[in-house]
């Protein structure tokens, strides 16, 4: 295709949008609201994921060795067994001596109360496990339960809640994306149908003097691309501004929340959200317009 033909198509596409301004605006608004919801849910889901990740560091699984008399060799055997379990990212061994040191630090000025325990250390040898993904907690626990002589401690309820919350968010956003894309395509179809209808005679004349279907189709597809593009840029802009604003607000005003919540940066969010939005938006535009031209090309 030659550049001048491309220019002609682009001019025709813009003209089509302008001729049915009202429907164009309606289509842009639908695509925008669809992508707005996609964006909001994406931000929430990504941040929950992120918080889960940070939680894994603190809420891993702690394994205590409970046998009274043990040798270095026993500890080694346990470590071997644990390391065979999948989904474990890291195993850190804390000897009773190290644990006691840590306790002393915690106790601070009262540390003297712990003195004398070095010789008869009541603290058990401990393994701190970090998981590849907190979702695997259940599997890892059930594997650990098969090992004798150990006791495990973990935060179960908290993880469960976060995971299920995240799953709900995912399901809702997927459903909303599907529903809104469908509405977007329908509206787009209507918008283009109007342009096509206005140009029905023109299209048939074009066909009689030898225009190919693609020659006729392109202006409408470009119309769809432009509408889809505008429809994706608007929510991206709104989300950019509000995400910056909200994260700033939480970081600046609320030190309490700051300790619990952690957020992805705006850049991290948009590195993924921008292509997703553009792809969804432009696809809605193009699919919608293709559907309506098909009917009028049968001359």
């Amino acid at each position: 295709m030659k550049i001048r033909t491309m220019k002609y198509f682009a001019a025709q596409g813009l003209q089509g949008i302008w001729r049915n301004r009202l429907m164009s605006v309606a289509s842009i608004a639908t695509i925008s609201s669809c992508l707005m919801i996609v964006g909001i849910f994406y931000c929430i889901a990504v941040n929950i994921d992120y918080m889960l990740e940070s939680l894994e560091g603190t809420a891993g699984i702690t394994v205590f060795y409970t046998k009274e008399n043990y040798t270095e060799r026993d500890i080694e055997v346990i470590r071997e067994k644990i390391s065979k379990i999948s989904y474990i990212k890291d195993i850190r061994y804390i000897s009773p001596a190290e644990a006691l040191e840590a306790e002393k630090k915690e106790w601070g000025e009262y540390a003297s109360l712990l003195e004398g325990l070095e010789d008869d250390n009541p603290l058990p040898p401990t393994f701190e496990l970090t998981l590849e993904d907190i979702r695997f907690q259940k599997d890892v626990i059930s594997e650990l339960n098969k090992i004798n002589g150990i006791e495990i401690r973990y935060f179960e309820e908290e993880t469960k809640i976060l995971i299920s919350f995240n799953n709900i968010i995912r399901i809702i956003s997927l459903a909303l994306i599907l529903i809104l894309s469908f509405i977007g395509i329908m509206l787009m179809d209507n918008t283009i149908r109007l342009t096509v209808y206005v140009r029905k005679t023109e299209i048939s004349i074009m066909k009689y003097i030898g225009a190919t279907d693609w020659f006729i189709r392109w202006p409408f597809i470009i119309e769809g691309i432009i509408i889809g593009f505008i429809g994706s840029i608007i929510p991206l802009g709104i989300i950019w501004v509000s995400y910056n604003f909200i994260t700033q607000l939480i970081f600046e005003k609320n030190t309490l929340l700051q300790n619990i919540l952690s957020f992805r940066t705006t850049e991290e969010i948009f590195r993924v959200l921008t292509p997703i939005s553009l792809i969804i938006g432009i696809s809605i535009g193009v699919i919608g317009s293709s559907i309506s031209i098909r009917r009028y090309l049968k001359v």
Binding site: M1, Y8, T201, M206, I209, G210, F215
Partner: protein, 228 residues
């Protein structure tokens, strides 16, 4: 160049517009198709363009059997056929110049070629001064000449003209005929459907007469003037 073998076209309402028509037109010929209103002249032209499909028979255009032409190939068939439609089929929101230029845009001609060819054909059909007018600002004859200009601007090997003088006074009609003769003398095959027997007689060309969808006469060059 053009062949019809036992072609029948029956419209959905049961009208037999063409019945078992066979004919052959050679390259470079100038042929009149005559017949009363409703005799099937436009249907014949529409069949060549694949605007309508035959119920029976085979059609060959430019040495290609178009009876079973793929849909995607139809535009290329039409590009080889310049057509002056009986109802003109001009684009209402484009000027005379733009209408003619549009036929060149479709085949992706360069702007340079467009700027050179469009004024040339417009002056050939005597419309140079109306280049900026829109179709609804033109008389019937002027619209017809615009349609003719558009049909010839891409130099098609075959020119089909359905009543190209239907709305014209005798003087303008002759001018149009001169243009058609010119084009024909440059090697283009020209097929003209018309009621205008006066012109047909004076032109002394091959004449095919249709009556109720049947070829009743096929007279070689000059034959018609003797007959009547």
């Amino acid at each position: 160049m053009i062949e019809l073998h036992n072609v029948t076209k029956t419209y959905e309402n049961g009208v037999d517009a063409l019945l078992n028509v066979s004919l052959k037109i050679e390259k470079g010929e100038f042929v009149f198709i005559i017949g009363t209103s409703g005799s099937g002249k436009s249907t014949l032209i529409k069949l060549l363009l694949k605007e309508v499909e035959p119920n029976h028979g085979e059609i060959i255009v430019n040495n290609k059997n178009i009876t079973k032409l793929k849909k995607s190939k139809i535009p290329y068939l039409r590009r080889g056929l310049g057509v002056v439609f009986q109802d003109f089929r001009l684009l209402p929101n484009k000027t005379v110049y733009e209408n003619v230029a549009f036929a060149m845009q479709i085949v992706e001609a360069s702007p340079k070629e467009i700027r050179r060819n469009v004024p040339m054909v417009l002056s050939m059909v005597g419309l140079a001064r109306k280049a900026r007018a829109y179709p609804n600002q033109l008389s019937g004859g002027e619209q017809q000449r615009t349609a003719l200009a558009r049909a010839i601007v891409n130099n098609p090997p075959i020119l089909l003209a359905d009543e190209p003088t239907g709305n014209l006074d005798p003087k303008t009609s002759w001018e149009i005929m001169k243009v058609l003769k010119d084009i024909n003398s440059r090697g283009t095959t020209v097929i003209v459907a018309t009621h205008d027997l006066d012109i047909v007689r004076k032109m002394k060309r091959r004449v095919i007469e249709l009556r109720e969808g049947i070829v009743v006469q096929d007279l070689p060059k000059g034959g018609y003037s003797y007959e009547d």
